[in-house]
């Protein structure tokens, strides 16, 4: 991944990269351990990482070694041994030993963690019991005083190989515990910091985006509401006067009107009223389009909404001689939405259906739960987890009117569109009702489309997502008929 943002997972210890001894251990703790081992077993210890860094070593130097290091030749020889030991190839986890020209020995054991070697522990120098005189290899070093060497030799740490092995095993066991807790502490602290950083980054990004969006929204809001307020005021004020004065004329306040005069004034009144409704719908629509309409969301039982909407439009249907029915099963899941807006959707659809249905026809409103699993693509990952939540409720508003040709079905939802322009004149209405329906349904994350009805008519199909996966407490089914 070349994403700059992404933190290096290996650096976090979350990746697969090798671990380093120097990262895992606390040096102070290491020195403490080395010191106590030296105290108990009298043996010097040194811990070296794979990269050759010495992480802890005994502080006391054997007097013999100190003497050797006083002479340049001794210092050279001693340095050579130490670097040999540091670089010694250790193949088995048992470790290996290495001799020194003083007769002393070093024991080197690998430090293993998670199946890999990350460093080594070096025990020594210690003298095997067999060495009781100053060896020739030591006397061969230039500047070494044999008498002093003989005097200091007994002060060196003594151990048998068996003892050295026990001590080294103990050392490795203690180290393992330290490494384990060190590893945990390392991961914890790194993870902690990385998480905080990541959260901070995410929050800052979101904050910046929100701030921007908020500012823009505020600006738009201001423009929009100014515009809307102006328009509605400017248009409505004169209209209110027209309505008021024509009402007064009809009421005979300005004197009795003749038959035709009364007819004309009534037409003026009803057309003005229509115009007012058109203005209100326009305002509604523009609010919906700008997304500034307030939605009060709650769990809504769609059956009740349908019954209410139907009773609102029932008088129109009855007057026209159209039968109106509503059917909703009792176990429908709830919809998360604004009940008032949903009612508006079905009032508009009901009105529209009645409008285009001739006398003697029927408008049926039917709700049901949809088996959406059939719709979900099988190739989408996680289907088994997501499908049960994709429950939809479908409401079909079917009429027996003239129907809508297939090619026209999408356009019907455009503002001011009407299949046959003359029908606006014939049936009245603004043509805005359906575009409002579409926007309201979409604001509920639903869809609306049109199908044909048999043998004639149109079916408006609204699909709304159910709010919860679990079934709500069963209610009584709704079945109403207005005729």
């Amino acid at each position: 991944m070349s994403d700059e943002r992404s933190t290096d997972v290996d650096a976090l210890g979350l990746g697969l990269g090798p671990l380093r001894l120097e990262d895992l251990v606390d040096r102070e703790a290491m020195r403490g351990m080395v010191g106590s081992i030296e105290q108990v077993f009298g043996m010097p210890v040194r811990i070296v990482s794979n990269s050759g860094v010495s992480l802890a070593s005994s502080s006391r130097e054997a007097p013999l070694c100190a003497m050797i290091n006083e002479e340049p030749a001794g210092r050279r020889a001693c340095g050579a041994i130490v670097s040999e030991v540091k670089r010694l190839r250790v193949t088995s986890s048992e470790g290996t030993t290495h001799g020194c020209f003083t007769g002393a020995r070093y024991r080197v054991v690998p430090i293993e963690y998670e199946g890999g070697t990350i460093g080594r522990a070096i025990l020594g120098p210690y003298l095997p019991p067999s060495v009781d005189t100053v060896p020739d290899t030591l006397l061969a070093i230039e500047g070494v005083d044999p008498a002093r060497a003989a005097e200091l030799l007994p002060h060196m740490a003594r151990a048998t190989e068996a003892t050295a092995e026990i001590v080294s095993k103990h050392l490795v066991a203690v180290l393992d515990v330290i490494l384990w807790s060190g590893h945990k502490a390392l991961l914890t602290s790194k993870m902690h910091i990385a998480s905080i950083r990541e959260s901070y980054r995410e929050l800052s990004e979101k904050n910046a985006a929100l701030e921007q969006a908020y500012e823009r929204q505020q600006e738009l809001d201001k423009l929009k509401s100014n515009f809307l307020a102006t328009i509605s005021h400017e248009l409505r004020t004169p209209l209110t006067s027209i309505l008021g004065y024509s009402e007064m004329l009809v009421g005979g306040i300005a004197g009795e009107l003749t038959g035709p005069q009364l007819d004309f004034v009534q037409i003026i009144h009803s057309k003005s009223d229509q115009l007012l409704k058109l203005i209100m719908s326009l305002l509604d629509l523009s609010k919906l389009e700008s997304g500034t309409v307030m939605m009060r969301r709650s769990d809504v039982a769609i059956g009740a909404v349908l019954a209410e909407a139907a009773s609102t439009v029932a008088p129109v249907a009855t007057k026209k001689g159209v039968t109106l029915t509503v059917d909703a099963p009792g176990d429908l899941p709830l919809v998360l939405g604004d009940p008032e807006r949903l009612r508006q959707v079905f009032v508009n659809l009901g009105e529209n259906a009645i409008k285009f249905t001739p006398p003697g026809g029927t408008v049926q409103i039917v709700a049901r739960q949809m088996a959406t699993e059939a719709d979900a693509g099988g190739d989408e990952p996680g289907m088994v987890l997501l499908a049960p939540l994709r429950q939809m409720i479908e409401v079909r508003v079917a009429d027996t009117g003239i129907g809508i040709p297939e090619a026209e079905r999408d356009k019907v939802f455009d503002p001011f569109y009407q299949v046959d322009q003359s029908s606006t004149r014939e049936h009245g209405g603004t043509g805005l009702g359906l575009s409002i329906v579409k926007r309201l349904v979409e604001a509920h994350h639903g869809t609306v489309h049109i199908e044909g009805n048999e043998p004639t008519g149109a079916v408006f199909v609204v699909r709304l997502p159910a709010s919860r996966p679990s079934a709500p407490p069963s209610k009584a089914a709704i079945s109403v008929r207005f005729a």
Binding site: M1, D3, S6, T7, V9, L12, L14, G15, L16, G17, E114, G115, W180, H183, K184, L187, T188, M191, H192, A194, S195, I196, E198, S199, E202, E373, A376, G378, D379, E380, P381, G382, M383, V384, L385, L386, A387, P388, L389, R468, P469, S470
Partner: protein, 243 residues
């Protein structure tokens, strides 16, 4: 994935994802219990509070091929499921070679399972990976509890999905090895396709996964083992298209 030619070692990172308390840690504990002494590393549970994972759990597993020639080193992580640990989940997920989603079978958890899945999908996307490209296994855990989604429903949905679905009772170790072995198998196959592992190391993926299964105490051939899945067309065919 990391490939060390010299030591003939393949390192793979697998992540157990899922909603809070679905049983991710329990899965790791069960695997740890099943793994032979040679295979299992120490299970590290990082910072827990009331048994809830705060950072992650890590179980290293090492499987050696039959002849001992190739080592397959697995680092198995869990993420913390609680919503507040979103950043940690994204971090732990980085560099994952395969993911198991551990879901809680109870009907009441349906939403949270789906949320966890969507969270996984988004976090992968943020890391530049499409979930359809990620080896994925789904486990429905806690089959022992009442009010769970029915076998019939899971089977029906799983049959339509691509990824293998396993049922499990992690607390009793049921279904745990199946889930893991299947994920290992899918991951191996995907890595083999992108990195030609079997050709480069001249090993057989089936053998490797088989020995891994054996080291988890499984005696049945691994293909029979992962046949316990529901659905999972993805795990059906062998590489090269053999049935």
């Amino acid at each position: 994935m990391q490939l060390d030619f010299a030591s003939r070692e393949i390192s793979i990172k697998l992540v157990y994802y899922g909603p809070a308390l679905s049983g991710k840690t329990t899965n790791l504990v069960a695997l740890h219990g099943r793994a032979g002494a040679d295979a299992r590393g120490r299970l590290m549970t990082l910072e827990t509070q009331d048994d809830r994972t705060l950072f992650f759990d890590l179980l290293p597993l090492t499987f050696r091929s039959k002849d001992g020639d190739v080592s397959l080193r697995i680092k198995l992580f869990t993420v913390p499921g609680q919503p507040i640990h979103a950043a940690t989940r994204r971090l732990v997920l980085q560099g994952a070679d395969g993911v198991a989603l551990i879901a809680d079978s109870r009907v009441s958890e349906t939403q949270r399972n789906a949320d966890a899945f969507l969270d996984l999908r988004q976090n992968l996307r943020d890391n530049g990976i499409e979930i359809s490209k990620m080896p994925l296994v789904i486990q429905f855990n806690k089959r022992d509890l009442p009010d769970i989604r029915s076998d019939e429903e899971l089977a029906r949905l799983a049959a339509r999905g691509k990824e293998p679905v396993f049922r499990a009772v992690a607390t009793r170790g049921i279904g745990v090895v199946e889930t893991f072995v299947c994920l290992l198998w899918l991951t191996w196959r995907s890595l083999d396709q992108s990195h030609q592992l079997s050709r480069k190391l001249s090993i057989d993926g089936d053998d490797l996964v088989s020995t891994a299964a054996q080291q988890l105490g499984v005696t049945t051939p691994f293909r029979e083992l992962i046949a316990a899945r529901m659905g999972g067309r993805a795990a059906g065919a062998a590489p090269g298209g053999a049935p």
